[in-house]
């Protein structure tokens, strides 16, 4: 079984995240890390590999700096990595991103693609199903639990209205939520081994140069920062704070 895990480098949610006025992420302004959700996606693949025969490829599209997230995946246990990097892809919208990723997956070969349900920066949650459509295979997204077998994938899908038990024949694309798995830490041995594992760097020319043509695009017009909130009244409870709060809420016409 060949499993491709999609990973993304994102600005650390623990820090300030900044956009330029044209809506592009200001990568200088914040620390970049592997998205937490991708570590969980990789864990789903690794825990299958722990007791089954599987080859795991970590795949990202992103600027040169995104090599770091692939190295982390290799250290956690992925067997190889693919990095799609091309200046023409800078500032890609969802359509371009999904097309480039799908082309790279096809080139790598796969039985199963595992992604996070949504990134912490874009929060789109659409790339997995878009990739599945490009590849012409089923998608099962927002899975809180996953069962992998050589021909079939199944799991529980989390929606706003409850849960849904789903399955699909392989090959397929799935996405997992933060309830799916607790990622392991890379071991020292893993980090040392990662340095020797293969990491392929691909440009659009290495994929299909036509993948981006003819597609509609979503384009950012403006990005405006909201003024930061400031602290208001703060009281220390001396036995009467509940009543004070009720007064505040009444004065604000909130009760």
């Amino acid at each position: 079984m060949k499993i491709v895990v999609l990973v993304k480098q994102v600005p650390d949610t623990w820090g300030d995240r900044t956009l330029t006025s044209s809506g592009v992420l200001d990568r200088q302004a914040s620390e970049s890390v592997i998205d937490e959700i991708n570590e969980r996606a990789l864990e789903v693949a690794l825990s299958y590999q722990d007791s089954n025969d599987a080859e795991i490829v970590a795949l990202t599209m992103g600027p040169a700096s995104a090599t770091d997230v692939l190295r982390k995946c290799l250290a956690m246990g992925a067997d190889s990595a693919v990095h799609v990097v091309d200046d023409a892809l800078a500032g890609s919208d969802l359509g371009w991103t999904s097309a480039a990723i799908a082309a790279a997956i096809s080139k790598a070969g796969y039985d199963l693609v595992i992604a996070g349900n949504e990134s912490t920066d874009g929060r789109g949650g659409v790339i997995p199903a878009m990739v599945a459509e490009h590849l012409g295979v089923p998608h099962l997204t927002f899975l809180t639990s996953v069962e992998i077998s050589p021909e079939r994938i199944s799991g529980e899908r989390d929606t706003e209205n409850g849960t849904v038990s789903v399955h699909a024949a392989l090959p397929a694309v799935i996405s997992v939520t933060e309830r799916s798995a607790e990622p392991r830490f890379p071991s020292f041995k893993g980090i040392m081994r990662a340095k020797k594992k293969p990491l392929d760097v691909l440009t659009i020319a290495d994929l299909d140069p036509d993948i981006l043509s003819g597609m509609g695009r979503s384009v950012v017009l403006t990005a405006t920062q909201r003024p930061a909130r400031s602290a208001g009244t703060k009281v220390v409870d001396e036995g009467n704070a509940g009543n004070q709060l009720a007064e505040f809420l009444a004065a604000e016409h909130l009760i």
Binding site: T13, W14, G15, R17, L19, G23, D93, G95, S98, E118, R123, G124, G125, V126, A129, M130, A132, E133, P138, H139, L140, T141, T144, D158, T159, E160, N161, G162, T163, V164, S165, V166, H167, A168, A169, M215, G216, R217, S218, V219, V220, L221, T222, A223, T224, Q225, R226, R229, G232, K234, V236, D237, A241, G242, N243, L245, A246, L249, A250, I255
Partner: protein
């Protein structure tokens, strides 16, 4: 006026999901609102009147007997068929799990531009412009589209107002769906909404509890305050991880984003990832034992105190005022 398609999500028991009203309201500001439904043969007729009441001027019923079996593909085929038949260039869906999957596959199929999680949509100089709130409300971003078709998913609860009720015309077509490229639905476990509390995403008041509540049993304090205020209940990820409440109630970076009139945080430290889901609330109230908790940095009214003494007093005071 041009046709604007709305995917009306329907439960497997035939209930139209709440998002349809908001989407039809948005569609009516852009053109002629058309509700598109995928339905089992014969099941569409019952949806026409309620969709008209929500503002649909036309209901496009795409019939397939696979609607309860295949994941997303019946809805994708329904919208593809409707977009061709009605030459629609704008398609609106809910930013729900189901809506996003359908939007995703549809965008690739129609080589359309896709914008997600809009909090507003408008037309400007013949162009569709979507507004988004990103990085937990730190930025407002406007986006437009190059290309012929624009697909927008709209954040649930983000658009207020309602389209005028209509008596819709109905078009019924049968569609074929490719099972080979589709996931299969084995069973649906609809969440039991036993409470009459408002829906978290659309509530005007939200009371959330964190790890500070200490246990699932003691979390009922949050529910009592919520009920005294007619509010929805939310939670931090730590409270969800500790099993106090269901994950569906998680507010924050990887949970629900809310923007109510009033947000009350009980025993929540105010980590940046929690704030990402609530910091655009109009008024924020926080009660926390720790005077240095970061939640106080964004609270309009903060109380340094124990939730188990402050909240019962507050509930009593509210009771006195409202009785």
């Amino acid at each position: 006026m041009s046709n604007v398609l709305v995917l009306a999500e329907v439960s497997n028991t035939g209930q139209i999901r709440n998002s349809a009203g908001m989407l039809l309201a948005a569609a009516s500001s852009l053109g002629t609102p058309v509700a598109v439904v995928a339905a089992a043969p014969g099941a569409g007729a019952a949806l026409v009147e309620p969709l008209g009441a929500l503002g649909a001027q036309l209901v496009y019923v795409a019939e397939t007997d696979q609607v309860d079996v295949l994941l997303s593909s019946p809805q994708v085929e329904a919208l593809v068929a409707a977009a061709h038949a009605l030459t629609a260039s704008t398609i609106l869906l809910a930013n729900s799990a189901d809506g996003r999957d359908v939007a995703a596959r549809l965008a690739v199929r129609l080589t359309a531009g896709l914008a997600i999680d809009a909090i507003g949509v408008r037309e400007e100089n013949g162009r569709i412009v979507a507004t988004h709130s990103v990085f937990g409300g730190s930025y407002t971003v406007e986006s437009a589209f190059d290309g012929e078709v624009a697909i927008v998913t709209v954040r649930q609860g983000a658009i207020e107002g309602k389209a005028d009720a209509a008596i819709p015309t109905v078009t019924t077509e049968s569609i074929s769906v490719d099972a080979a490229s589709s996931g299969v639905i084995d069973a649906v476990h609809e969440a039991v909404t036993a409470t009459d509390r408002p829906e978290l995403r659309a509530a005007t008041t939200v009371v959330s509890g964190g790890r500070g509540l200490g246990s699932a049993e003691k979390f009922v304090l949050v529910e009592h305050l919520a009920d005294a205020l007619g509010a929805a209940v939310g939670a931090s990820r730590a409270a969800v991880d500790a099993g106090y409440v269901d994950h569906a109630l998680q507010v924050g970076q990887t949970g629900v984003t809310v923007a109510p009139q009033l947000y009350i945080a009980l025993g929540i430290s105010g980590a940046i990832q929690h704030r990402a889901g609530m910091q655009t609330a109009k008024t924020i109230v926080a009660i926390n034992k720790d005077a240095d908790a970061p939640i106080f940095d964004i609270a309009d009214f903060g109380i340094v105190g124990d939730v188990f003494t402050v909240v019962p007093q507050l509930i009593e005071a509210i009771g006195k005022r409202t009785s």
